[in-house]
Symmetry: C2
Subunit: 414 residues, 2 copies
Amino acid sequence: CISGTRLYQDILKTSRWGQIGHTTGMARLSLSDEDKLVRDWFCQSALDLGCQVNVDAVGNIFAILPGKNMNLAPIAMGSHLDTQPAGGRFDGILGVIAGLEVLRTVQESGFQTYAPLAAVNWTNEEGARFTSGCTGSAVWSNHSSITAAQQMLTLDDSPCPTTMKQELQRIGYLGSLASDFRSNPLSGHFELHIEQNTRLERQGKRIGIVEGVQGIKWYKVTCKGERAHAGSTPMEVRADAMVASAKIIASLEASARLHGAFATVGVLTLERSSSNTVPGHAQFTIDLRHPSAKILDQMEAEIKSNMDVAMKENPKITFELDEVWHSPAVRFDTAAVACVAEAAEARAAPSGVMRMDSFAGHDSALSASKVPTAMIFVPSQGGISHAPEEYTSKEQCEDGAQALLQSVLAYDAL
Amino acid sequence: CISGTRLYQDILKTSRWGQIGHTTGMARLSLSDEDKLVRDWFCQSALDLGCQVNVDAVGNIFAILPGKNMNLAPIAMGSHLDTQPAGGRFDGILGVIAGLEVLRTVQESGFQTYAPLAAVNWTNEEGARFTSGCTGSAVWSNHSSITAAQQMLTLDDSPCPTTMKQELQRIGYLGSLASDFRSNPLSGHFELHIEQNTRLERQGKRIGIVEGVQGIKWYKVTCKGERAHAGSTPMEVRADAMVASAKIIASLEASARLHGAFATVGVLTLERSSSNTVPGHAQFTIDLRHPSAKILDQMEAEIKSNMDVAMKENPKITFELDEVWHSPAVRFDTAAVACVAEAAEARAAPSGVMRMDSFAGHDSALSASKVPTAMIFVPSQGGISHAPEEYTSKEQCEDGAQALLQSVLAYDAL
Ligand SMILES: NC(=O)NCCC(=O)O
Ligand SMILES: NC(=O)NCCC(=O)O
């Protein structure tokens, strides 16, 4: 049995790296100084256990506990230690620290698995600091090129943005290992995560058996108009990038409601803005989600057509829509899901579990195309996530970690 | 006669302080390092002429050339040397440097006026760096308190905003003189400015005789919702501060068109924003303009009612609307306007001038309540202002400066 107390203490202890003031909020942006500190702690804890620790070219960390058969690729328990600019203490973090807790439990028990086991920290899952999410797992699984990833710029609008490669170098996590599922293979990927929704909570279930993840598309939008004087430029001759963007944002919300999809504009910046200047340049992000690729395409077409209408109505307005991330909808491997189901039912009884898909994106959605993958969910209080109020209890974390342990043992036995 | 060449050379020469790259754009935000450099140049130029230079508690600079009767308060030629974050080389700057050119011309001619003459640089006219415009003239004319002005915070969303007082101290322009029209009086205020609209250009006129300024109201809006996960929070339960703000912005544009008014959202910032987080906190500015106070009140009421509707529809959304600046519509002094009319017609013939009101706000709108005031406009190419493309030719600047000289001489003779 894993130790829920040790696990929870590690979660709370490491939350000091990135804690926002005295709140439960976390700002541990990928490859920041705080991210370096928690990475150092993770590596040292794994080394103390006798693990081998490998870092690849995109900063993914693989902490490997030897198995009986060292020719087998490790069975991974992966997630991420980075957070949103104002996120919580559990999203991603629970999965990595629970992986470490499983390694500890196995090592202390004296039992040796056939395959090696690995706790994995994937880089920039949140996509909050660099422009696309799940970067580490996307490169490893060959969805993105290492060059494109390393050249990604920080998303903040500072005058001198830095690249992911520069940041990897700066904090000492530009590894020598190629980031590639072929040269650095895994034989399975299991991820424990908070649900980030209220389905478990509402139905009074303890563990979710995750069978797939909906599709995600991210875009960067640039709207150009004309800077002008707010006091003396008649409304009729303006090309106001803020107003044009506001109309797109309002119509996007209506479209998402219509399609039963998710659509979000999370970031919007105006260039050299001022109270009495009509904005001439706006940039914003769009995040679209739905299980059906067809609906996503349809929503994209609607956005484009709204932009076309705006550009026709006012030829001095231009919109550019660039896709920056696409995580297609996935179904998880049935054998891996079966291992999770067995483990979850052993822990919470059949009445305490439920099968579901994930609304949020995860590294598992990327690994799934290359290696048998499944996920375990535990409840998030009120469904709150990507917010300081995110909360999952010690008992709930323990449920998840125990199910993670049993899942990998079951998979190892296959 | 003033020297158009010397005037224009000074405008171009001093534009290096704040020049954006190799463009004609200027970023000389109030009390920045660049503003200090141009202030130093202005003071030194005035001292070289034998002027007395006084600086008051809000950083206004009064460069005074003695007159025959030193008991008379100076006749001022004032405007501002600060610019927008991406403004041009003429807005405000022309008026101050033309004031200096008038002092030079008078001093070189050997002629002495009855009253002293003053070239005045008012602080933070643009309102781009600190939250309300025409700060220097508003304090001097007792529209704002010195304490409120000195405590204003920089508008950028840096983690440690500084106050106006700190910035005045830092650049050495926290003067010992009280900023007050009673203890530091002027006997008139004349301001040469670019028109920032196309009325002169379209009608082929050279000089505008400005008889008044429309009313301006500025607001700071704070919209609070709930941070949430963009991928797993259903549209129906969100409290999205970006979407709620976008709807207000779109309706504001419609309202301005309806009323024949001006409405602008120039600044919008989202707190700790991220692509995949539903914004929980948005802040934006509103700038409203109309000659009628009734229409301004009506537009304000419409904004409030739209906000009320949004808050009723979604009780997790709140809006706060704070008025941060009010520059009421003003009519200028008829005697001062008559001096401008006489001077403008002398320069450009009656067929080359036109009477008009100003759409933009000016320090003159504040001084007008305390001292006879009038303004002179020269054309702005294409009406472009608050943009790097702002342009007024040497000949047009010369027209304006010559009319300024004749206006103050005519006023002095009264
Ligand atoms: N699980 C999670 O919050 N991942 C971040 C990627 C996303 O779904 O936006
Ligand atoms: N003239 C001018 O651009 N002043 C700035 C204040 C305003 O009108 O917004």
